[in-house]
Amino acid sequence: MKDEPMSRAENIRFEVKILDTGEKFSCSASDHLLRAMLALGRKGIPSGCHGGGCGVCKVKVTRGTFTSLVMSRAHVSEEEERDGIVLACRVMPTSDLEVEVVGKLKKAITRPKAFGLV
């Protein structure tokens, strides 16, 4: 990390609530939800590539506003994006947020592995 002073906008922190678990954490306007969650030792949203490519961190934002970076169309369609379905590693809050996990890891957890890797 560079030690430049953070601008005022980057300093603003918002509260993010994961509806599935009730977990809450704070996230600055310049950070993405997934990194902020992990940096504070919280859990709830599945974590993978942090690059918008793998799709495991898929969430639906049910309340609040945010800005986002480009995310893989293999995992979030244009319609989904219009409905507030996004990848948590690509989303920076501009208000307090409530999110619900819809990532594919949620399914993987409910289906036990029967053959070591699958």
Partner: protein, 314 residues
């Protein structure tokens, strides 16, 4: 005669500038060409061919194709016949179809991955030259990986439905291209389902690996480093650059390599892989890892799944 080594990989990236920042400033590759369509070609300092990585801007991450280099142009004719005899569709694409390469064979692995073989690629030379060379270039950047070493491809595995693309792709590489099986993971009640394989043509334990998963994809591309201390320093450089690290430095049981898994800015997994592992030879007996020791094989120290090995790939 035969396949020599991995030649290049064509990755899809969501943001070209971010991707170049990663592959050039963190991995230490250099841009050698940019085409009219916007594809960017890069090489490592210790490689002599024009490129080992082709980046294509896309709305999704993952791999478009992978290419291996054969020794002689005439090998392509031999392999074309062998591929056809195996019952797989193959076409010869003219020189220049793959940028800066001669004619090439194009086909799909049983797993579905698009695969090319070529014999010629424009020569550029190592950054240190060939006359009284320094051991490393003084203008190296970041991790300064030596070369693209191997790739691990995820293949559909669904034993309940009788689908095993790991087995099919392994058979194909061995029977058609004389790849050798260094190591394998076997699972299932009779321990007879090949769930992962490590194959080689060079004298190191793998030039290509297949691992079973719910859907096909790219698990990782790996870059070579000399030794354990380079792996530690590479991880330092990743942290300084806020690279998302998946698995911190440790040893693979399989191949004995020293490893770090991490992600490029589009979420494609990379690895830095160090060490010889062991001398791989065509007459070497295959090493087998059983289902109960599978994770010992992959992450030797903990013997447990680390990071998001099975659940996250592009």
């Amino acid at each position: 005669m035969g396949v020599m080594r991995i030649g290049h990989v064509n990755l899809r990236v969501l943001d070209m500038d971010a991707a170049l920042g990663h592959y050039m400033n963190v991995m230490g590759m250099k841009e050698t060409h940019r085409d009219a369509a916007g594809n960017v070609y890069l090489k490592c300092w210790d490689e002599w061919d024009k490129y080992s990585l082709m980046l294509t801007a896309s709305d999704r991450a993952g791999m478009n194709h992978i290419a291996y280099k054969v020794e002689k142009d005439a090998d392509l004719d031999v392999f074309k016949k062998r591929i056809e005899d195996y019952g797989t569709a193959v076409e010869i694409v003219p020189a220049g179809t793959l940028f800066a390469c001669g004619r090439a064979l194009k086909f799909n692995l049983p797993s579905g991955h698009e695969f090319y073989l070529y014999a010629e690629k424009e020569f550029v030379g190592k950054d240190v030259g060939v006359t009284n060379p320094a051991p490393w270039p003084t203008d190296k950047k970041g991790i300064a990986a030596h070369w693209l070493d191997h790739a691990l491809l995820m293949c559909e595995l669904n034993p309940e439905k009788g689908i095993n693309k790991v087995q099919e792709s392994t058979d194909f590489m061995m029977k058609v291209f004389d790849f050798h099986l260094a190591e394998q993971v076997v699972v299932g009640p009779n321990q007879d389902i090949k769930a992962a394989t490590w194959l080689f043509r060079t004298s190191t334990p793998h030039d290509l690996a297949f691992v079973g998963g719910p859907v096909m994809g790219l698990h990782h591309i790996a870059f070579f480093l000399d030794e354990w201390n380079d792996v530690l320093k590479a991880a330092d450089i990743m942290a300084m650059n806020n690279v998302k690290v998946d698995v911190t430095p440790q040893r693979h049981g399989i191949t004995r390599g020293y490893t770090i898994y991490f992600f490029d800015p589009s979420g494609n997994r990379n690895e830095t892989f160090a060490g010889l592992g062991y001398l791989a030879q065509p007459d070497m007996p295959t090493v087998t890892w059983t289902e109960d020791q599978l994770w010992r094989g992959i992450f030797y120290h903990t013997g447990e799944e680390a990071g998001a090995f099975t659940s996250v790939y592009t």
